[in-house]
Every structure is written in C-alpha cells, then in structure tokens.
C-alpha cells in the first residue's frame, strides 16, 4: 500500500527484520546445513556400499536412497494393474470368448477387431453361442482403461498379465492376434479363470441351453 504525500506517492517503508550477528554472519547456519548434508551423506554412502538400502517398493517413503536401478531391479506392478490383454481359455483349450462383441463395442479407442464365426452344423453349441474367428487388439491404440474387461459377460478377456506394452520399433509389432492373446498368462501363471463355465448339458445348471421348454 503506497503512502500518499504532498510530493506524490512514495513507497511504504518495509522494516528490515533484526538478525543477530551470529545469524547474519551465516557461519552457524552453514554448520547446521553441513550437519544435515553430512548425516545424509554418511548414512547413504554406508547403506549403498554395503547393500543395506531400503527396498524401494517394500519400504517406500523411507529416508535413504530408494532409487530403483531399472532394469536390474524392477518394481512389481500393483495387483489390479491393467497390462496387456489375454484371452482366458476353457478346459479344452478353446477361448471362453463367445464373440458377443461387447468388448469391441465398449472400447473407447476402438482397438478390438473381432470377426465372429458360427460353430459347425451339428455342434451342441451352434445357435447358442459363436466363437471368434479373428480377435485382434491393437495394443498401441489401447488406452488401458479396462472397459473391455468390465463389459465381457464371460470373463473371457482380462488385463492381468502384469506386463506393460514394450517399446517396440514399429506399429505392426503392437498388433496382437488371437494366438498371442491366448498364449499370455496371468500374474498367477494360469490361462483359465476361476469362474466356472457351464456348458450346455451340465446337470448342475439345467437351464443352460436353448431348448424351448
């Protein structure tokens, strides 16, 4: 706030804070600062040299050197991390996917391309469900939102591989086809899912068919 006088506006005088001579001389402050730096220095040098560093993931937010020397050390991703996709399998090795196109419809990036195909004539499942002839995901377009996993009614597509999209050299390498998606394993190593799949003719679930009763 300026002060108005007869000579015009002059600035408001700001009082200088009083600093005792020891603070003004700055040397005690230098000593205090050096104490902090030396403490960090000796503790960290000892821990790094003797491999006693806190583990950056298990003891996060610790004081000390918690640098992750990637790629020799890696932080594991959290449990619900959405990584590359995989198609889960039934017991006989075929994909659980029934080509309902829910995932490709729900995908905001439109990175899933499915070509459905009918089962052969005489197959129990014909008319009841389809299978994907082609199932292609462009991982480069994928935004890893997980809508496809939420949309799938059959727990057929999952994003629990725990791997991020590697930095490939060209766009073609990011196009994952059905065989690659079926070959991927989840974090626990399995390719099937714990959700049971009841095929038609299963006595425990008598309504799983399309017979008109």
């Amino acid at each position: 706030m300026a002060i108005e006088t007869s000579k015009g506006i002059i600035g408001k005088p700001v009082p200088r804070p009083y600093r005792p001579p020891s603070t003004q001389a700055f040397i005690p402050e230098i000593m205090k600062g050096m104490r902090v730096t030396m403490k960090h220095f000796f503790r960290n040098t000892k821990e790094v040299a003797l491999s006693q560093r806190p583990d950056p993931t298990m003891e996060s937010l610790e004081e000390g050197v918690t640098t992750v020397s990637y790629p020799e050390q890696k932080r594991p991703y959290p449990e619900r991390f959405r990584g590359l996709h995989r198609l889960t399998l039934r017991e006989d090795g075929s994909p659980r996917c029934v080509a309902c196109l829910c995932c490709s419809t729900a995908c905001p990036a439109q990175c899933i391309h499915i070509v459905p195909a009918e089962y052969a004539e005489g197959d129990k499942r014909r008319g009841y469900e389809r299978f994907p002839d082609q199932f292609v995901i462009d991982e480069l377009r994928c935004i890893f939102c997980g809508f496809c996993v939420e949309a799938c009614p059959c727990d057929a597509i999952r994003m629990d591989t725990g791997q991020h999209a590697a930095p490939y050299d060209s766009r073609d390498q990011f196009i994952f086809r059905k065989d690659l998606l079926m070959a991927a394993k989840g974090r626990d190593g399995s390719r099937q899912s714990e959700n049971p799949r009841h095929e038609p003719g299963d006595p425990t679930h008598p309504g799983v068919d399309r017979e008109h009763h």
Binding site: V48, L50, T57, E59, L61, T67, V68, E72, Y77, P78
Partner: protein, 602 residues
Amino acid sequence: MDGYFFLFTGLKILVVLLFIINTAAILTWGERRQSAMIQDRIGPNRAVIYLPSVVLKGLVVVVSALVAAGLANYGRLASLRPERVRLDAGFALTELLVLLGWMTIIGVRSLERKRGGGILSRSIPDARLVFFIGLAIHAAVAVLRANVTGEERTPNGLANALFHYVGPFLTPAAVLGLGIFALTNIPRGKVGIRLGGMLHALADGAKMAFKEDFIPTNADRLLHSLGPLIALFPAFVVFAVIPFGDTLCIHPDTSGHFWADLFNARIGDVGGAYSPYVARYGICSEGAVPLQVANLNVGILYMFALAGTGIIGAAIAGWSSDNKFSLLGGLRASSQMVSYEVAMGLSLVGAFMTYGTVRFDDMVRWQSENAWGIFVQPFAFFLFLAASIAENKRVPFDAPEGESEIVAGYYLEYSGFKFGMFMFGEYIELAISSAVLVTVFFGGYALPFLHRDGITLELGETVYYHLALSHRLVIVLGVLTFFLKTWITCWVQLFIRWTIPRFRYDQIMKLGWRFLLPSALVNIVGTGTVLLLIDAAGPALSRTLDVVADASQGLVLVLGVVGIVTLVSGVLAPPRKHGRSASSSAKFAEAAGGTRTTPMQA
C-alpha cells in the same frame, strides 16, 4: 647438474601431474556420486563393462598371488638383514595379519547374514565388537614389539615366534587364501564392472573429448581457442612449488653406470658410515632431493602471480564468445577474482609473519616443529578458505557461471574438449587450493610427532618416547599423508559446495571488499602485536608455548585416531530397521524376495 637431477625432476613432475589429474577425475566422480548421496539418490551409474567371470577370477587370483609373493620376498630379504630390521619387518607383517584377520571375520559374517544364518553371524551379535577386539590385538602386538630391543639374535618366546615365523610365513599364505576364497564369491556368467560409478565419469570425460568443437560465427577465433588454455595453465603449474614430501636423501652408487647406480642407490645418511636413519635436524649436504618440482625462493608469491594469470582466461573466454550472457559471466568472473585475489594475499601475510618465510617447505618445517597453522592463525584460515573458494569460482561464489541466471556464464559457447578444459580446470584448481590450504594451515606432509629421525613423543622439553624409523619409511609416510590431507580438504570443499546456496553478485562483492579485506588487515595487525608481545615476554613464555604447541599436535593425533575409529565403527554398525509398506505391489515384491533381482550394482 648431473643426469640424476633431470631424472628426478622429471619423476617429480610425473608424480605431481598424476596426482593432480587423478585427483581431478576422482573429484568429478565424487561431485556426481557423492552429491547424489546427499539428495537421497544414486548418481549416474549406467556405464558398465561386462567381464566374463573367468577373467575376473583369474585377475583376483593373479593379484593375490603377486601380493603374497611380494610379502614373502619382503620377509625373506628382511631375515638376511640385522636383527632390528628383521624385527621391524616381522612386526609389520604380523600387524597386517591381524588386520586381515578381523576384516575377514567381519566379511564372512556379513556374507553369512546375507545368505541367512551361519556360525559367525549367530555367535557375534555386532560387528563392531570384532573391530574393537582387533584394535586391542593390534595394540598388544605393538607393545610386544616395543619391549624387544633387538640386541640379541633370538628374543624371548612369543616375540620370537610372532616376528620371526608367524608374520613372514603366515601373512603371504593368508593373502593367497583370501584370494582363493574371493573366487567362490564371484558370480557366474558375466560380471558388470561399474567401479562405483567411476566408469561413468570416465565415459563422460571421453564423450567430452569426442564432441563437436565449434566456434561461434562472429567470435574472435584466436581468443576463443586461447581462453581455456590460459584458464587451465596456471592451475597446473602452481603445483610446482608445493612440497609433497620431505627432502629425500638419496645417494646413487659410484660405479659409473647410470641406471645400475640408481638401482643400487642408498637412501639415508652417508656422512661417515651408511645408515638408513637420518638426523632430525638439518638436511644431508649431498644427494638431497627436495620433493617439490621447483624449490623457488619466492615460494608462495609464485602462486599469487599465477592465480592472477588465470583471471585473463575467464575474461577472454567471456568476451570472445560473442554472447551477452558470456560477457556478463566474464565480467563477473574477472571482477570477483580480482577482488578476492587481494583478500587471499593479505590473509596469508599473518602466516608469513608467524612462520617467518614465504617458502612452502620452510612453512611445513615450522609447522612440524611447532603447531599446525590452523591453531596459530585460525581467523586467517577462514578468510583464506573463503577467498580461495571465491577465487576458484566455486559455489557459493559461482555467480560467473550461475546456471540459473546466465545459463553457463563465460563458458557458454564452449563445447567438447574446450569445455572439458574449463570443467577439469575448475577441479584442478580445487585440488591446488586444497593443497595450498593443507601446506599452509594443516601441516603439509607432516604428521604429529613424526620427524625425519622417527617418532618422538615429547611435550616441550621432556621426551616421553622415541622410535627411530628409517628414512625411506618417513618419506613414504610424508607423501601419503600429504595426499590424504589434500583429498580430505578437497572433500570438505565439495561439501561446502553441496550445502550452501549461491550468493548474489553484489553480496559477493560486498563480502570481498567490505569484510574480507578489512578482516585480513585486522588479522595482520593482531598477529604482529601478538608476535611482538611474545618476543618481548622472555624465555619462560617461549617454553610454555612450546608445551602448548606440542599439546596441539597431540590433540590432532588424538582427533585423528578417534575420527578413524568412529568412521570404521560407524561403517560396521548394524543396519537400521525399515518399516514395511502395505501396498499390493509390496506384497508382490516380498513374494519375489525383494526388488533386488540381481546383486546390488550401485
């Protein structure tokens, strides 16, 4: 001037150059790695050389075999000499054995703890216990050696066994055994050699040499290329007058062959009969090789003259770059260096008055006889420290190269090797200023109570203990002491850099002219007054001052020993416990055995 003079001068230049360049390289490494330690991160460590583990194992075996052979030969040669020399050699080997012993126990214990369980890790709760017991055994062996005079050929039982047999035979075997034990701990496959980040610093230096070297379009081509040279040159040549050791008395043989005479030269005193020991006072009349490159009689004035030359380099570099920021940086550099040059010179005048000389080697001799410079001139030490940090344009006085203000200041338009010369030159200046600090204030190459004839524990007039050490050993200890003190002082200067923020330019100028210069003058007046009072007081005060000076040497010795013991026991302290995080990635990491998938390659 015979051929030996040129040979020795060349060797001295080589030693000095090697020391400076290696110190500057180590400081570059330290600047990046150790400053990272303060910021709780690891510095750059990506540069790596992969050696097949076979090569590494072979290297370890060969090195340990060579060392063992050298130690065995040392013991064998000593057994042919007089009893005193034999006992000294046996004593040294036995102490080495004790050192290897406790270090091996601690190493094996920590290896067992990493692998979970083992005899040593269960029975020894704390590694520091082993260290202190090892120190006690060291002291016991030393006391045993001190009680044996060396007159009779076969001393009594325990000393005989230790110094004649255990030391010379067991120590080489222990070294070889340790080498073979180390073989089992080298991992298979390829081993990445990082040298603690030094390879990365080396790689950066090599990169600097191979980068494109350009001169700006409208720049003055000659001056642009000349700037780094003029800035770097004084930094190197100042070391010519700094003594890195005491005067060596070496007497080559007189058979006429140059190299054979040198090989058979005798180090020690040849007045009369040859003796490996020299007298405490005085320097041998012939064969004296002062361990300074040039024994100038102007001494420190040579250093001031050359530091003034360095100013021109910064100014030329700033002006010739055709860049406003460089010009600003060059102006700041030259005015800052000029102002602190005056303060630097005046702050040392008090030291000249006290030591009575401007020559470095006489200063060190005064300090080894009396007290170290920091006790005699403490105020001048701080003034000179501040002035020399400002002279070298190091943080907190690095306004000329203030990165956040004028990008890089006067070396903005430099790249490649010329930039490397500026950077390297800054670290060389750091090493030089540390060497000067050590020589003037920290006793140079002198250790407390160590003189040319050996160790003499005395307080004023009374001598409590005297141990004669050979001239060769005294010289080697002096040189090693000087290098170690210079490194420690460099480290302290690096620490100041990591701690203090940059001063504003007007604050720098005000500090130089309005505080340092008047304080230096006050210091001169005060020192002069005190000296005149001491002279006028008489011999009683002189004797008291002698006692106080020797007490200060004792204080330095005690502080040094306490410092080393504290450092080692701090390193051996058990690791601190860490808290556990509850996130799911932590659970995954724990299931995988931690984030360390390979041995920590920091």
